[in-house]
Assembly symmetry: C2
Homo-oligomer: 163 residues x 2
Amino acid sequence: MPESALPYRPHNHQNCVSQALADATAICRQQNARLTPIRERVLELIWQSHKPLGAYDILGMLGAEGHNAAPPTVYRALDFLLQHGLVHRISSLNSFIGCTQAGEHHRGMFLICRQCGNVLELAAPEVAQAVESAAESEAFLPEDITLEIAGLCPRCQVESRHD
Amino acid sequence: MPESALPYRPHNHQNCVSQALADATAICRQQNARLTPIRERVLELIWQSHKPLGAYDILGMLGAEGHNAAPPTVYRALDFLLQHGLVHRISSLNSFIGCTQAGEHHRGMFLICRQCGNVLELAAPEVAQAVESAAESEAFLPEDITLEIAGLCPRCQVESRHD
DNA sequence: CTGCAAATGTTATAATGTTTCAAAATTTGC
DNA sequence: GCAAATTTTGAAACATTATAACATTTGCAG
Ligand SMILES: [Zn+2]
Ligand SMILES: [Zn+2]
Ligand SMILES: [Zn+2]
Ligand SMILES: [Zn+2]
């Protein structure tokens, strides 16, 4: 059993945030995209934790800090961040999470703890490979893969045995 | 390249419907569950094609045939059908599709054509295996797998080359 | 028949996401 | 620098998807 992955144990999360923002800045510069204040702030809010946020959660947070935004503001920022591979959308939760592999070409796979709500993004190339070969066996041309695993993270498994 | 799977080519679709309804009847009897007229009708509507239907599509169809139902009626029927493994929910589309392997224990994988809208459900045990072993490598206990592949079906690939 | 539990009806409301048009900011060509 | 073009943001209304709460009906066991 591996050392527990970041979301599931205490860590200096400020590092996660700073790193994500620095990466985003670099990626946007490289792609000639504008990481405007709103977009950056939304990204930062999403990175507040390893739990996904809904668009209206973000909207509420922006409101609480005085920036009275309407839904399109948030959805546009999210679209931008999705477009540039800085966040992922978790379909099964209607929510959004920071990408831990921004910049790299990848197909995310998400381990979602139903207990604590934390999400771990895995690269899982062998899964992507299996998916692609299954699709190919049906002559299907895959473009976008949604792969979300709900279950119990290591920590919450332990806790659930303490009852 | 395999023979094109059912959704992507002409076939006697009435067979699909009858089979699905017969299976549902058998499964419900076996599980002591009541396949009431509304539930059966919703299942039949979903099976009208191999394209997923939204809850409000179903609601509209029920309305058109004189049964003036409200949203909870449809969502309750859908919950029942989900519970008993007779339909699947496609998270990325907020819609529902008939299960082609009702009764068998399985984790569905869905190939969704973005052009024609048809959905093919695959068993893909080797993908499930890869997913489970990736989860295990993180000491994660998977319970529910959402695996939806959007792309182009064989037919629509051919058509898109005719432009 | 009677009483209980499951299923359905009904109304209202919550949560999520989009369209549209106007205003402001930023970039581009000169 | 400056005007035009483009991108971004603001704002209001609206559309879609889903649930809560409570009343009523139905099916069934005793
Ligand atoms: Zn962190
Ligand atoms: Zn957990
Ligand atoms: Zn068919
Ligand atoms: Zn197609």
